[in-house]
């Protein structure tokens, strides 16, 4: 049934999820690696799980990625 996977995903918790505090603490490391095309999901599966589950943290990650992209590969 359409929508059921989304509802199911919403109601479940990934046991690997590290939570907001840890994700926020190293978001800069994760984002820099992601922006360079590195294996973030492999290296930080708990952060990846959290960013999939947490809207605000996911939004912050998207924002940081966008900032890194706009500044170019080597930054200012």
């Amino acid at each position: 049934m359409d929508g059921r996977p989304e509802l199911d995903r919403f109601l479940r918790t990934d046991p690997r999820d590290v939570g907001c505090a840890q994700a926020m603490d190293i978001l800069h490391i994760y984002a820099e690696l992601a922006s360079a095309g590195g294996p973030v999901e492999e290296q930080y599966p708990g952060i990846a799980a959290h960013l999939r589950a947490c809207g605000p943290c996911g939004e912050d990650f998207d924002g940081l990625l966008a900032a890194l992209r706009d500044q170019g590969p080597c930054g200012p």
């Binding site: 359409d2 989304e6 907001c20 505090a21 959290h50």
Partner: protein
Amino acid sequence: MLAGTGPAREAALARLHEMLVRIARGEVGRRAPRLRLAGPELDDLAYQAAADALIAITGKLGQFRGESRFTTWAYKFVIFEVSAKIGRHFWRHPDVRLDAEDWDRLPDRFGFDPAHEAEWRDLLAALRRAVDDELTARQRRIFVAIVLNGVPLDALVIELPPTATRSTRRCSMPGVSCAPR
């Protein structure tokens, strides 16, 4: 240079501030289409976020461990400040009441196919019973705000009274996997 004193430090702070403003404006612009913000309000928000990020960064220089570029670490503060300010801004111009319920929104929000209406109506009825019977009053209020009414979580945490377990800025929602410290 930022940890030093004198004109060199002032110049470094000015360059950093300029960079933070640029990032803040970019982030506010990126989120703006989803907000009821325009023109001068967007700029105000960006400048405030950059200023507060600069204070946070200079206060936490000792915490930078060199695991990323300094700029990436600094940008993170700006992004967090923009988030926080947008959350506070939501309540100055709210689209919804915190306690209004609209279960009819859920089919659209989860992309339910009208061709399977009978099935998802049963599912939603079961979900509603679970929300009414299984959640605490506080959990139910949070569920209604976030799931039914689309209140951003960053905005909701500002509005709700604090609890002993809310040790991070966003961990008060059942189904949101935020492990407390």
